[in-house]
Symmetry: C2
């Protein structure tokens, strides 16, 4: 078998991407081999390299998709929130359910890779911070509308980002989704209480 229709080819590409994403999430970037991706996707080595010119590029492709999706979902949630406070809870909820997003871990690990193309590294580092501007916006809005006390918005944004990022990285081995959500909500509770006007 060879030469599928354009549509089928796209399916192949997505099958590879899906398998790769799952493996990168489970094992990280370096621990995942192209051979594993081949096996898991059911496609051949050649097919993978036909659709993606390298492991790095495949990883970047996934990160970009992920980022777009994340931002879209987040802005969708924002439409339902009327106050900055509500928006922060929305972001936290988003992070808590972000078992689909932990590519962030893999991307942080990636930076250390030896032979990696510096250009790709830079892009990935930059990309890993994509939620920051969104958070900054909300905090600036909250301060402007007197929901939050006057303070350095950049610092607060970085802090909240670290909180949520940190929560996402913790090993929640024995915790249920409920408990995880609960801790994320608690994080926002404490954070809000700490910065309230």
């Amino acid at each position: 078998m060879a030469r599928r229709t354009a549509e089928e080819a796209e399916q192949t590409k997505q099958a590879i991407a899906a398998a790769a994403k799952q493996l990168f999430i489970q094992q990280g970037y370096q621990a995942t081999s192209m051979e594993q991706i081949r096996e898991s996707s059911g496609m051949s080595k050649g097919s993978i390299y036909y659709h993606f010119k390298s492991k790095e590029q495949l990883f970047m492709y996934l990160l970009e998709l992920n980022m777009v999706d994340w931002i879209y979902k987040c802005t969708e949630r924002f439409k339902l929130a009327s106050t900055a406070t509500e928006k922060l809870y929305a972001i936290a909820h988003h992070f808590a359910h972000d078992f689909e997003n932990p590519l962030m871990q893999a991307s942080m690990e990636f930076s250390g890779t030896k032979g990696a193309d510096p250009e790709v590294i830079e892009k990935i580092v930059e990309m890993s911070k994509f939620p920051l501007p969104l958070i900054l916006d909300v905090i600036q809005e909250g301060i402007k509308l007197k929901e939050f006390a006057e303070d350095d918005p950049e610092k607060l944004a970085l802090l909240l980002y670290s909180i949520l990022g940190g929560l996402g990285i913790i090993q929640f081995d024995n915790y249920s989704l409920e408990e995880i959500e609960s801790i994320h909500r608690k994080a926002i509770d404490v954070f809000l209480n700490g910065i309230r006007a």
Copy 2:
């Protein structure tokens, strides 16, 4: 050259350990090769494997040293602190200066390693959480002494640990040590303000 005195042999071991530690911190576990460690330490392959039976064991050795050192320094700082509040600032200060400690990142990455000995993985995962009990103690003390409001201490400890861990993982590319410290202090400010009795 061969066969040094016991003292010199220990120096060799520590030179290897020091080189390995720096590389693990800079590049992560998997991205660091034994060949790099050999080159950086100036020792031979044989010497490395004479002192450490495997890469995994070398890594574990570093983690254990690191943990002991961390806990010692932290309890030393605690002696200077009279209130739970002060102790929290001490912990934050400790995390902020923990450019020597980010083995935590490497250990989190390690868990994903493929062929890794499950026993070693378990030990490492467990070890990566070592600051938690310390934090929990301080928070329980703070609640008991009415410094902090009544609340679930476990949840708060996990939250603070996530905050500090998250701050430690953020890419502070363009930030000075001053700014990093400042953000860590801010983290405690907000956290304390959020849980204050």
